[in-house]
């Protein structure tokens, strides 16, 4: 198993990612495709009706969004402590994706809320903390954009991301404390899942699909970022 520092070398990353990218694309299309197709073939839920199908778009989006912030924070830590350039790039590239998945979760969620709760939005614990998560992402992106100098921007954003993850559980807790109206952990509950396998498998599949989709897009963004920086370096070198 190659050490992190092996990946940390941008050049090596470009080669590796170039090799694996096609496979990721394939796997993404496959899993996400089947997951969603199965999802839309499931029988209407006895109480939720056809709207249940939104779940296959919504839940995975939510999962991926949260996973993305975890990765963002991890990369930030690596960048801050071990200073390898790639982790900065990785963190920077993860943020917009995470924000998009968060937004997706919010949108699909509220689309779901309309039939379920008769309203587009309710100030329920998880929705609210999810909304706050979106703000954390936006703040991170804003900070990156606002600071011209790349190294400085990376460090600053990293500090913010870390403060964010430390605070995230507290936010989650406080919001839970504030109110609870959203349905609870009904999938990964101890003592097996609460929803029928017909829902479960498509859900897990599309969950996997979303995850793969995230990693694929992430890789692409990192590659473009690296290449852009090289181009800029060459330009400036030429100018000097």
């Amino acid at each position: 198993m190659p050490s992190l520092f092996a990946f940390a070398n941008p050049k090596r990353f470009l080669d590796m990612s170039a090799a694996v990218l096609p496979w990721f694309v394939g796997a993404t299309v496959l899993t996400l495709g089947t997951g969603l197709v199965l999802g839309f073939l499931v029988p209407p839920d006895y109480q939720q009706g056809d709207t249940v199908k939104i779940m296959f778009l919504h839940v995975p989006a939510a999962w991926t969004a949260m996973m993305a912030y975890g990765l963002l924070a991890l990369c930030s830590l690596l960048g801050l402590v071990w200073r390898h350039p790639l982790s900065d790039v990785a963190a920077k590239s993860a943020a917009p994706l995470g924000a998009v998945f968060t937004a997706l979760g919010l949108i699909t969620g509220s689309l779901w809320g309309r039939p379920m709760w008769g309203t587009w939005w309710v100030w329920d614990a998880r929705l609210t903390s999810f909304l706050l998560l979106l703000f954390l992402y936006l703040g991170y992106i804003a900070l990156w954009n606002a600071i011209e100098d790349e190294v400085r921007a990376a460090r600053a954003a990293a500090i913010l991301a870390l403060v964010g993850v430390i605070n995230l559980p507290i936010i989650e807790f406080s919001v839970e404390w504030w109110t609870t109206l959203h349905q609870g952990e009904s999938i990964l509950r101890s003592g097996g899942s609460a929803i029928a396998p017909v829902f479960l498998w498509p859900l897990l599949l599309s969950g996997l699909g979303y995850t793969l989709l995230f990693f694929t897009l992430w890789m692409v963004r990192i590659r473009t970022e690296i290449l852009e920086r090289r181009a800029r370096a060459i330009l400036l070198a030429g100018a000097a």
Partner: protein
């Protein structure tokens, strides 16, 4: 004409550029609107009841946020001296800057407001009224704010004093604006929007002169 557009486009460019005020005013608006329910509670009936007031105040604050830099940024780096010597009258400059500020804050805020209206459980009619009232009212915020920005120009912590000067002046905008939404909420029509329009029109027409006077006075620094 090119001179005027030069200022207009430069300010818009600076505001919309990475880290510029436009996007951030939006984020501030949304963030404040989000914090309120956290304090008030999730009861949509209550929230709908206070949505108009809270969102209008939040919008005003979001617009004010970036107003203190309207002239000060140019003042501190010396650009304002150079602009003052340009063929443009300070009145024109002020007008251009007000326009740029509204285009980069008031307008985006208006466009975002329906979403927040939804989250506060406002019915469609009230949401329409909210957006409309912001569309009509936010120019007054930029305009009156510009006067404050001109007055607090030479004060380092001007950004702090600004809200004090401007918020009281903006009370009518908040009253009429929120009033219009309440009216739509209670399904009864009142002249709030008209009053708001009159107020906005008057302030927008007069403030460039007041702002220019304030700036001129501060250039003698």
């Amino acid at each position: 004409m090119t001179a005027l557009s030069a200022i207009l486009f430069r300010d818009i460019r600076l505001a919309t550029r990475a880290g510029g005020s436009a996007a951030l005013a939006l984020a501030f608006f949304a963030a404040v609107a989000t914090l309120v329910p956290l304090g008030v509670g999730a009861d949509l009936r209550v929230l709908a009841r206070i949505a108009a007031g809270v969102l209008w105040v939040a919008a005003v604050l979001a617009a004010l946020l970036s107003l203190d830099r309207l002239f000060q940024a140019d003042f501190e780096d010396g650009s304002l001296d150079l602009i003052a010597l340009s063929p443009l009258s300070l009145e024109t400059v002020a007008a251009a800057k007000i326009a740029a500020h509204w285009l980069t804050t008031g307008l985006p805020l208006t466009l975002l407001s329906p979403l927040l209206g939804l989250m506060f459980g406002l019915p469609p009619r009230a949401i329409a009224a909210l957006a409309l009232s912001l569309l009509i009212g936010t120019p007054a915020v930029s305009a009156l704010g510009a006067i404050g920005a001109g007055l607090t120009l030479s004060i380092r912590r001007g950004g702090l004093i600004l809200p004090l000067l401007v918020l009281p002046l903006l009370a009518p905008a908040v009253i009429f604006g929120a009033g219009a939404v309440q009216a739509a909420l209670d399904g009864l029509a009142n002249g709030a929007l008209l009053l708001l329009a009159a107020f906005a029109l008057a302030t927008t027409l007069l403030s460039p002169f007041a702002a220019a006077a304030a700036v001129r006075l501060n250039l003698a620094g």
